[in-house]
């Protein structure tokens, strides 16, 4: 009788888990470029696959301090390591490198 909700829930959970797993693996790969691994707050250049829109700038602003945008790269200050890992997990973020300022 309630097979449909159970199947739908299982599909949604599986999709979310797959999304999270892909983000976890992809995020770790993107952070390989950050050496040594982030251990404290730092400044980073976040590269997207496209020129950021207002949504992306606001989304990143909520996770650190956006100080500039050049092309498809957003420059951020005071990003915590945990937050950086969250940023790197997003599929539309293509690269993360340490940034030493302008």
């Amino acid at each position: 009788m309630l097979r449909e909700p159970a199947i739908a829930t299982a599909i949604v959970v599986a999709l979310v888990a797959l999304y999270a797993f892909a983000g976890f693996v992809g995020g770790a790969r993107k952070l390989d470029a950050v050496q040594p691994p982030p251990a404290a707050r730092g400044d980073y250049a976040i590269t997207l696959a496209f020129a950021p829109e207002r949504f992306h700038e606001q989304w990143l602003q909520d996770r650190g301090r956006v100080v500039g945008v050049k092309g498809s790269t957003v420059f951020m200050r005071d990003v915590e390591p945990q937050v950086l890992r969250g940023i790197a997990r997003e599929y539309w973020v293509t690269g993360v490198v340490r940034w030493s300022g302008p």
Partner: protein, 276 residues
């Protein structure tokens, strides 16, 4: 028990199952509408800002997914929707049962709820913004407000129309207020509650859109608003389609099965197809 005859006995074209044939017929209507829409675009001769073609809308959808905007907006909207509908439903059921069971509670709350029912949620949102600021709280409150009344009134009606003969039977067997509630009122009111919830869950999308228009910077409702503001009409249409699809999915995979299950278990109607 009344049996509702289905069309299970009729042969379907091309040997399809009844369900597949029904889905195909539904899809045919949508495809026809899309073709007519696409063909009408050059005839109308307006820019894509005024009248985007289905292909423009598809391109906008792909763009929103590629840029990660749509998944985050959908997730934000669904969380707000889930919290708002959940709290609104619980409050609606609690007040519906309380008012239905107690004359004093009914006298105390009925006039107030009748008054509040007349005030649409849109009128409250600016006040909620003043009280709670922009963001989740305001949207969730708007959703609670939208969901509360249909659930409450359906529950109230269901409680008041519980079979008196069964109530008396439980009482004559020594059952108290709790016993009557447990063995008669709640089982007989459940179909009414679920019907109210299904009705309210549909209305809740209105509250979500209005709330996100006014008090959010993310969400599918905000996408509809932002698309029109930034002259990206195709994005607005993507938002509208996504919202419609979300409702269809929630209704099809959750609300309808629950309603069917409760009506068949505790209601007065049984589907003939399930009796075979």
């Amino acid at each position: 028990m009344t049996a509702v005859a289905g069309d299970a006995g009729f042969a379907q074209p091309w040997g399809l199952s009844r369900r597949a044939a029904r889905t195909l017929k539904g899809a045919a209507g949508i495809v026809l509408m899309l073709v007519a829409w696409q063909v009408s675009v050059p005839l109308v001769g307006m820019s894509s800002y005024f009248y985007p073609a289905p292909l423009d809308v598809w391109a906008a959808f792909v763009d929103l997914v590629t840029k990660g905007v749509l998944p985050i907006y959908i997730a934000d909207s669904l969380v707000r929707y889930g919290v708002g509908v959940g709290i609104g439903a619980v409050l609606g059921i609690v007040f519906g049962v309380a008012i239905g069971m107690s004359r004093r509670t009914s006298l105390a709350f009925s006039p107030l709820f009748k008054f509040l029912f007349a005030l649409v949620e849109v009128a409250w949102i600016p006040i909620f913004v003043v009280w709670f600021g922009y963001g989740v709280k305001t949207i969730v409150l708007a959703l609670i407000y939208v969901v509360f009344f249909p659930v409450m009134y359906n529950t109230l009606l269901a409680v008041r129309t519980a079979p008196a003969v069964l109530v008396n039977a439980v009482r004559s067997l020594g059952g108290g207020r709790v016993g009557v509630m447990r063995y008669v009122i709640l089982p007989s009111a459940l179909p009414g509650m679920i019907t109210g919830l299904r009705l309210a869950a549909g209305f809740a999308f209105r509250g979500l859109v209005f709330g996100e228009f006014i008090a959010a910077k993310t969400g599918v409702g905000y996408l509809i608003f932002e698309g029109a503001q930034s002259q990206q009409t195709a994005r607005s249409i993507v938002g509208m389609i996504v919202m419609g699809l979300l409702w269809l999915a929630i209704d099809q995979f959750y609300l309808r099965p629950f309603e069917r299950a409760t009506v068949q278990r505790w209601g007065l109607i049984v589907d003939a197809a399930d009796r075979r």
